[in-house]
């Protein structure tokens, strides 16, 4: 329980810095830190799927978007440091490749029922006692809205945020036109 309070404190501090700082890039990185804290929280709540979604959308998407759109603050590396950077990148790729090979080798073969390998897996409970515990004959609904409802909450939050972002980005054009042409304001 302590870890959640620590993460919440970290996210609040990052949010305050993101609002207060004057540098745009630092502000964006702080917003990414908030998303990272949120994804760690989902991970400790045992919702790894939504943690992955959160980290992809919030951290990677945000930073890549900002790096692509802001042309200033770009630093180019040259000379010895470039060679060093290439060596470090190759080393990291090699380590990730080896770790990935280990993971793929440990996976069960294609078509092998995973239940027989993990007799105490959570999915055994979902399939065996799903109707009894949730009362829903549709097991998929029972799983996503009862057993794994945190995943659904996270997915709904991600969808909500992306819809807000899309409508805000698409609105600016229309609002400019509305200011110039004097037509109606259609947005909420």
């Amino acid at each position: 329980m302590v870890i959640f309070y620590a993460l919440a404190l970290f996210m609040i501090i990052a949010a305050i810095i993101a609002v207060e700082t004057s540098d745009l890039l630092s502000s964006v990185i702080c917003v990414g830190a908030i998303g990272f804290g949120g994804s760690l929280m989902f991970l400790f709540l045992r919702a790894p799927d939504i943690a992955i979604t959160q980290i992809v959308v919030e951290v990677l998407g945000l930073i890549i978007l900002i790096r692509a759109t802001i042309s200033r603050d770009l630093t180019s590396i040259s000379g010895d440091r470039e060679f060093f950077g290439v060596v470090v990148s190759m080393a990291i790729i090699g380590v990730i490749f080896l770790a990935g090979m280990q993971v793929l080798n440990s996976l069960p073969g294609f078509g092998t029922p995973i239940f027989s390998l993990l007799p105490n897996a959570a999915s055994q409970t979902y399939v065996g006692q799903g109707l009894e515990l949730t009362g829903a004959p549709n097991l998929v609904s029972g799983v996503i809205l009862d057993f794994r409802a945190y995943d659904t909450l996270g997915e709904a939050a991600v969808l909500f945020t992306s819809i807000i972002g899309a409508t805000v980005i698409l609105r600016t054009k229309s609002r400019k036109k509305a200011k110039a042409g004097g037509s109606d304001e259609w947005t909420a």
């Binding site: 949730t134 009362g135 004959p137 609904s141 409802a149 909450l153 036109k177 109606d184 259609w186 909420a188």
Partner: protein, 158 residues
């Protein structure tokens, strides 16, 4: 007059009701049959997209104005979180199915069963349908803005 021909408009007017009803069915019976909030919401939104394609953007926007769609989107998200919080207040923990465990056990394979799962499905269906409609309509607005001829025509209408 924007939109397609009168044949398409007539057929779309009938089919739209059936698609909408099918979406409502998928959302309401999400805990009994395959489907649920996400799939049903997409079907609900697609009925309005059909309306937009056949009758033009103005008609669809008059049928479901964007501020209303935005409020429905927010209401769905709020309803989803609110039922989860009710689980914390009334039941034992966040997201607990308090209706099924304490108040309304219902009977399996009946419409009123499974406690809060149908309510979650309704909230998600409302949210997904409204937000998808919002995005598609926003994209069509954005597409029209880039064409100068269309924007002149729009100003004439308003």
């Amino acid at each position: 007059m924007d939109g397609m021909t009168i044949i398409v408009k007539t057929i779309a007017g009938w089919v739209k009701i059936l698609i909408f009803l099918f979406g409502v069915y998928i959302v309401l019976f999400g805990h009994l049959t395959p489907g649920g909030g996400f799939a049903g919401g997409v079907i609900l939104a697609s009925s309005y997209v059909l309306l937009m394609l056949a009758f033009g953007r103005r008609y669809a926007e008059r049928n479901l104005p964007l501020p209303v769609a935005s409020k429905l989107d927010c209401a769905g998200a709020l309803l989803f979180a609110l039922i989860a919080v009710f689980g914390l207040v009334i039941g034992s923990s966040f997201f607990v199915d308090f209706l099924y465990q304490q108040y309304l056990p219902g009977q399996a394979f009946h419409l009123v069963s499974a406690g809060t799962i149908p309510l979650y499905n309704i909230a998600i269906g409302l949210k997904v349908g409204a937000s998808l409609f919002l995005v598609i309509l926003s994209l069509s607005v954005w597409g029209k803005d880039t064409e100068p001829d269309m924007s002149a025509e729009e100003e004439e209408i308003t």
